[in-house]
């Protein structure tokens, strides 16, 4: 569904992406991983037309993204960011209804879709009339996912959706997202710097460094046949649990 062909993008002197070529086939779930500043988020922003490439082509369903068509393209994509990006002045319900209302959906249709999605992400109906600041971090991310799915777009882009959550909530939502992506069958691109999370959710991992693809494959390939020393270190950069025989002083 998405393809980047020889795409370069700079911000001032900072090189975000360098001659990058990458495909995201329809219906596939892909995780893009890498350290901060490796260009992960820039890929999503290019797909949405929030940025335009300095060189190369970004295509959505074969059509090059441009200033003229990006509004239409954005409506075919759900987008979730780290803090949810919910509008604090609107209730959950009104946050969800922004685009549908503009598309002249009936009230009944909006309500029905809202309840359907609330069930899907396990969001209590009572929370729908609350404002974002009255919700927990996990609830906010569930609402953000609901908003991204409101008009049932064929693709979902997620930029560190669980990055700001505490470990327990994060663990639970990782499970939830993995199930969701299987059920929905949408094209999903998940950006995260957390390798275990990426490996748990996505069957395909793309590892980025300094705007280039270092390795592109299954989680197993990444763990077993790291492409270079950087990948090896990236894979190893997780602390093992304490050894069972370590003593607890009493």
């Amino acid at each position: 569904m998405f393809s980047l062909e020889h795409v370069s993008k700079r911000f001032g002197t900072f090189v975000a992406l360098e001659n990058l070529t990458l495909q995201f086939p329809s219906g596939a779930v892909t995780a893009v991983i890498g350290s901060s500043g490796s260009g992960k988020s820039t890929i999503l922003r290019l797909l949405l037309g929030l940025e335009l490439p300095d060189a190369g082509l970004v295509r959505v369903d074969g059509v090059a993204v441009s200033a003229a068509n990006r509004l239409a393209i954005r409506r075919r994509i759900g987008y979730v960011i780290q803090e949810g990006g919910l509008f604090p002045h609107l209730t959950v319900r009104d946050n969800l209804a922004l685009l549908p209302r503009h598309l002249k959906w009936s009230r009944a249709r909006i309500d029905a879709r809202t309840l359907e999605l609330a069930e899907l992400v396990e969001m209590p109906a009572s929370a729908l009339t609350r404002f974002p600041l009255e919700l927990s971090g996990g609830q906010r991310q569930r609402v953000a996912v609901m908003r991204a799915l409101m008009t049932d777009p064929p693709a979902l882009l997620l930029d560190e959706p669980l990055g700001a959550l505490d470990p327990l909530v994060r663990f639970e939502l990782q499970e939830r997202l993995r199930q969701l992506f299987r059920v929905l069958g949408k094209t999903v691109v998940l950006v995260t710097h957390d390798l275990p999370e990426a490996a748990f959710i996505a069957p395909r991992l793309v590892l980025l460094r300094a705007g280039r693809v270092i390795q592109d494959g299954t989680p197993a390939e990444l763990y077993e046949r790291p492409a270079d020393d950087f990948v090896r270190r990236f894979v190893a950069a997780y602390r093992p649990p304490p050894l069972p025989h370590s003593k607890v002083s009493s």
């Binding site: 922003r45 509004l71 960011i81 002045h89 209730t91 404002f131 974002p132």
Partner: protein, 499 residues
């Protein structure tokens, strides 16, 4: 959605045009203006009362400002007549005429401008040098030339006299005066200085009531330095044709206001604090129509003041809000707009009012235009800052939804920035309530009228009659905006404060 925003903007623009149009409707009643000092206002009242005796209703715009303002107002037709002095005409307003100016030359120059001058009223209000009577007797000083023999006499001269060519510098040269001490001070303080023995010589106007009250001897201008300042009516030829009673009223007064009469009229207002209209009515042995009670005066001024503030603020919102939005979206344009409004803000309000007169005449319109320009900065800046300081993730989030920019602006960005924008509007409104008092300088009415008159007459109760309601209105406006701010702040944003 595009069309809805367009309609809103169109409606706002249309309202602006409508308001401007209403304000421009020409008046059916002739208007006499007066300068911002007692004598001129009394003369204006005299003409109003005389005209009413002849069956003509005449509006009197009191204390509109200095010569330059009245002259402009007459030339553009905002007023139909006002009292002027021949010296001001020959020395300032028509200074380009070859000197000395003959009466024929003056009449011709005026008629080329569509103006005319009446016969002299009967008194001269010109500069003279005054010395306390006792001191003058002791020293035997009768003429200005006599001062040369007493260089130690302390001169306290009004700032205006010091700066005028026909004032101190010319006088000193003409008489060869070289006093040891010369100080500049405000004209109204000069008599106090003389009375308290802090100074010996000051410049006075020949009709100042203090000349009698403080026993000041006016020195003879034995070298005829001071030009003649005969009081006359200046009027528009067109107005005289339209209202014959206006011209006949002016001629009826000509020759009947003597120097001692004028001094005594001034004394009754300035020293005895009687209203100008009553003093004028007494002089004409008639009753004064159109005097209002305190409550009605306050209501009238409140209406005028509110209209100035509300209309100017409405217009500033109609332009400032869209300008602020564009400025936030296009930073380079934004900086230019902001720079321009900052420059506007640095223009002193008095100067701004004067700039407006040739463009818009006098009355409410130039005052509204001035207030409108002053309101732009806080509104444009707060709109721009409010919009451009929204959190980046919300901007991204709004853009990624696939909503057109108008919807993003109306549904997301403006509501989130509403509090900041409203704070700017509130600042503009409160400043406007204060600045609108200056509108009285150019005949816009409002609370400034009693304040200016009070300052002129050193009458504190009269100043308070304008200052207190202005302060109350400023507080009410602030309260109103605090309430509005509470209303426009969405409940979801108020939580942040509670949390």
């Amino acid at each position: 959605m595009r069309s809805r925003l367009g309609k809103v903007l169109c409606a706002l623009a249309f309202t602006g045009v409508l308001v401007a149009g209403l304000a421009a409707t020409p008046s059916e009643t002739p208007i006499v203006g007066s300068k911002d000092f007692t004598e001129s206002i009394i003369l204006g009242e005299l003409l109003r009362l005389e005209a009413s005796r002849e069956g003509l209703k005449l509006d009197h715009r009191r204390a509109m400002g200095g010569s330059a303002i009245l002259w402009q107002a007459l030339r553009v037709g905002s007023i139909d007549a006002y009292p002027e002095y021949t010296g001001t005409l020959t020395q300032e307003l028509l200074a380009q005429l070859p000197q000395p100016v003959s009466l024929e030359a003056l009449t011709r120059a005026l008629s080329e401008l569509g103006l005319a001058m009446s016969s002299p009223l009967g008194f001269e209000d010109r500069y003279a040098l005054g010395v306390p009577e006792t001191l003058a007797q002791r020293l035997g000083v009768r003429t200005i030339s006599d001062l040369r023999a007493h260089p130690t006499l302390r001169f306290a001269l009004s700032n205006e006299f010091m700066s005028r060519a026909d004032g101190w510098s010319g006088l000193r040269a003409a008489y060869g005066l070289s006093p040891v001490t010369v100080r500049g001070l405000d004209h109204s303080l000069a008599y106090h200085a003389l009375g308290q023995g802090a100074a010996d010589v000051t410049d006075v106007y020949t009709t100042d009531p203090e000349v009698d009250a403080e026993h000041i001897r006016l020195l003879d201008d034995d070298r005829n330095f001071f030009p003649s300042y005969q009081a006359v009516w200046l009027y528009r030829l067109e107005s005289a044709r339209r209202w014959p009673a206006l011209e006949s009223s002016m001629q009826a007064l000509a020759g009947h206001v003597t120097l001692s009469a004028m001094r005594s009229l001034n004394a009754q207002v300035q020293l005895k604090r009687r209203p100008e209209s009553a003093v004028a009515a007494q002089f004409l042995s008639t009753t004064s129509p159109g005097e209002q009670g305190w409550g009605r005066r306050l209501a009238q001024r409140t209406r005028e003041h509110l209209a100035l503030v509300a209309v100017s603020l409405g217009l500033a919102l109609a332009l400032g809000l869209p300008l602020g939005v564009v400025a936030a979206k296009a930073p380079r344009f934004g900086r230019a707009v902001l720079g321009l409004t900052v420059v506007l803000q640095t223009i002193p309000s008095l100067a701004m009012l004067v700039f407006m007169i040739p463009l818009l005449g006098i009355g409410a319109r130039p005052a509204i235009a001035t207030l409108f320009l002053y309101s732009l900065l806080p509104i444009v800046r707060n709109t721009m800052v409010g919009l451009s300081s929204l959190p980046a993730e919300l901007i991204t989030s709004a853009a990624s939804l696939g909503l057109p920019w108008q919807v993003q602006l109306l549904r997301i960005e403006l509501p989130l920035a509403a509090r900041t924008i409203l704070a700017g509007v509130s600042t503009a409104a409160v400043i406007n309530v204060g600045t609108a008092t200056l509108g009285a300088l150019i005949g816009a009415g409002g609370y400034g009228e009693p304040i200016l008159t009070g300052i002129r007459l050193n009458n504190v109760p009269l100043i308070l009659e304008g200052a207190v309601p202005a302060a109350v209105m400023a507080l009410l406006v602030m309260g109103l905006f605090q309430w509005l701010e509470y209303l426009v702040t969405p409940r979801g944003l108020r939580l942040r404060v509670d949390a």
